[in-house]
Symmetry: C2
Subunit: 192 residues, 2 copies
DNA sequence: GACTCTATCTCGGTA
DNA sequence: TACCGAGGTAGAGTC
């Protein structure tokens, strides 16, 4: 199996996981008819002798959409959506993944005074997360139906630089404990 | 990719080694047209939604010949054949894989006194290796052209029980250092 | 980019 | 059969 990045894998007809032999990209494949030679910049060589060719097919698959994993940032967001009061007393969820033209806002809530709060959720709170929140808030301000929008930056750990930037822009910073949150969540969100 | 043992692997178009997702055999695959459901006895489920089918090919490959690895017992035997004096002064190779009716003897040599020596080579010397050597020597004694045959048991490590048995039968025990042997071998046998 | 840690790890070896 | 350790580990997350 030769993939789009040039890597080569030789699979046996059993055992899903590991190829018999392989070479990762970057490499170069030379097709010599009855044998292929694959070499990489480290000077390693993989020679494949072809005894018989039963089939040979090739397809273009285009961009790899990749995988999105469950149980990390998405799961943290889910837990916070289920228990907004953990972040601030009186907070109520308006919606998760609130759509804007520049991407969805993780959480939009209303506070005890009915003011709109835009919340950016990260596992590790760093500067780029604060910038992201700023862009969303700027965007939400254009939506006159929401009135004034307050920002809140929520993460398991917020780095000092990120905290300074966020607070200088008037965003509240909240650190949350993932495990405690998990214990607090309603049964249907718990994994055990 | 579905293999002969029923295992299923979903590969992205890059990164040779690891599938995006997979399920090992034993399992059962149910083809529901637009989606496949793979389940295993542990109760785990893998559901594959088919967005588009570009190609579908199937081949019978027959018995898997497997892989034989270099650098293990066969390689040790090769190195010893190239340097018999490592095992005993004056030893000269007669031949490797000396054929008998019950299988090949790893090495047959002649010692300084021109006596025939049958040698069993193992990575780890255990009792079954000594028994194997005994059978070969018994067999070689039937071959009157060789005269008396002495036994030698050679391994990287010889277990105490195996050593006791071998020496009680009059076989010399020799432990050899693979790495030292490798450094000692002629250039064409060296890998670097 | 270097380093650390996890894995439905796989795979081989040994008690 | 269970446990332990290495791997061309790969791959993701972190500093």
């Amino acid at each position: 199996m030769v993939k789009a990045d040039g890597c080569v894998a030789i699979h046996a007809d059993g055992g899903a996981y590991k190829p018999l032999n392989w070479m990762n990209s970057p490499n170069t494949l030379t097709d010599n008819g009855d044998h292929w030679v694959v070499t990489n910049p480290k000077g390693e060589t993989l020679t494949i002798n072809l005894a018989e060719v039963l089939d040979e097919v090739s397809h273009e698959f285009g961009e790899d959409p990749g995988l999105t994993k469950d149980g990390v940032e998405a799961h943290l967001q889910e837990l916070l959506a289920a228990s907004p009061e953990v972040m601030e007393d009186g907070l109520r969820l308006v919606r998760r993944e609130y759509p804007t033209a520049i991407g969805p806002v993780d959480l939009v809530c209303r506070d005890a005074d009915d003011g709109v709060v835009a919340i950016e959720v990260k596992r590790r709170g760093e500067i780029d997360g604060v910038e992201q929140l700023s862009r969303y808030i700027e965007r939400l301000h254009l939506d006159s139906s929401l009135g004034d929008v307050r920002g809140m930056f929520v993460a398991q750990v917020i780095k000092p630089q990120a905290r300074v930037l966020a607070e200088s822009r008037g965003y509240r910073c909240v650190e949350v404990d993932y495990d405690a949150l998990r214990g607090l969540a309603p049964d249907e969100l718990r994994l055990f």
